[in-house]
Amino acid sequence: MHFKLNGAAVEVEAHPMKRLLDVLRQECGLTGTKEGCGEGECGACTVLVDGEPVCACLVPFAQVADAEVRTIEGLGGDHPLQRTFAEVGGAQCGICTPGMIMAALALGPNPTLEEVRVGLAGNLCRCTGYEAIYRAVLFAAGEEGGPA
């Protein structure tokens, strides 16, 4: 099946009902996307499909035919969100971090704190208490007072 993965056209064979999460981790070898709850409650497996955040544990592979899928690996490691999450303690144990960053990415430039709260409401974190995550997202967007 044909789709676009992190900007590159790819051809991947898998069962049409296999979860996108498992196809990414197994067939594609991209293990940055994590499985948390497996029921769409925690957002750890968030990836972008055609620019919109989705839970990869709830998407059958068949539904991304010809779509554009973006995962944490597509950010390359030095994206402003990846830097600020590390710098301000937005990542602690790290399991929620790829999903948090992908959900934050969909907020576009210069989100307000309220937009960040709503945009990340579907992503659970059990370490940070969220404040450092919100700061990381706002700093990455160039808010004043950011560490960079």
Binding site: M17, R19, G43, V59, A121
Partner: protein, 274 residues
């Protein structure tokens, strides 16, 4: 995923007509769209179904349109995000926007559909009290034709509907709503948590009230509505409401909590200036 993939079958029609023929000739099939309910069952190995029909690619079922006369028509694939972003829905049916915003997080709102919330038939479906007070119509289609079911008559019991296995929801229609609209969900947190109680209501000469998660299906409260329309005091109406609902204890809440909160919601709505 606990369900074995090898036992699953997915049919992928290209048109609605083809989907309807598959439902008639190849059934029983479970329709899939945003998958936000079905995949939870598959992930935990609790879904007995093994054969599915994927509707997600059927463009003819997408979109929200405003008809002459002011009726809003939600295609079966209209998502909660489509509802939140629609200027027509924001202008005409703000209580549905309020409910759609509290279904899961954005990830769920991006995939989950209004028709899926209706078809899933959970008494905790957040959009269902809104459709009840808006007196929506569920448009069902099969190879044999179309029928229009008033929302009031769509559910027959816990997770039971009047839909036949060869029918699909193709649209949900909502006529213009006269009066001030209100929606409130009560749960452990706004996003993600499944509701303990939710209420939608319309304030007008003909007050309308609906509650979710207080019975086996979403319920309208005709006796409470009648009391309010007849000039009863809030306290009298709350007493009528408590006689009219029969919630249960379950994993999310208790019957007693739900009764108390339901009466409080009626009070909050009725005392609100709107």
């Amino acid at each position: 995923m606990r369900t074995a993939l090898s036992g699953l079958d997915l049919l992928r029609p290209r048109t609605l007509d083809e989907a309807l023929r598959l439902l008639r000739d190849e059934g029983p099939l479970v329709p899939l769209a945003g998958c936000t309910d079905v995949y939870v069952g598959l992930n935990f190995g609790t879904l007995p179904a093994t054969r599915f029909v994927d509707l997600w690619g059927l463009r003819e079922l997408r979109g929200i349109s405003l008809r002459d006369g002011g009726t809003l028509s939600f295609g079966a694939l209209a998502t909660h995000t489509d509802i939140v972003r629609s200027p027509e829905v924001n202008a005409r049916l703000p209580m549905l926007v309020a409910a759609a915003r509290e279904v899961g997080g954005v990830q769920i709102q991006n995939r989950g559909t209004l028709a899926g919330n209706v078809a899933n038939a959970s008494p905790a479906g957040d959009t269902l009290p809104v459709l009840a007070v808006a007196e929506a119509v569920v448009v069902l289609r099969s190879v044999d034709g179309e029928r229009r079911v008033p929302f009031d008559g769509f559910y027959t019991g816990y997770r039971q509907t009047v839909m036949r296995p060869d029918e699909l929801i193709v649209a949900i229609e909502v006529p213009p709503v006269e009066g001030a609209q209100w929606f409130r969900k009560v749960g452990t947190r706004a996003a993600q948590a499944i509701s303990k109680v939710m209420m939608a209501a319309v304030k007008s000469d003909r007050p309308r009230v609906s509650l979710g998660s207080v019975g086996p299906t979403v319920v309208r409260l005709p006796l409470t509505e009648e009391a309010l329309a007849g000039g009863a005091t809030l306290e009298e109406a709350q007493r009528v409401l408590l006689d009219e609902i029969h919630p249960i204890d379950d994993v999310r809440s208790t019957a007693e909590y739900r009764r108390r909160v339901a009466a409080n919601l009626l009070g909050q709505w009725w005392s609100d200036g709107a």
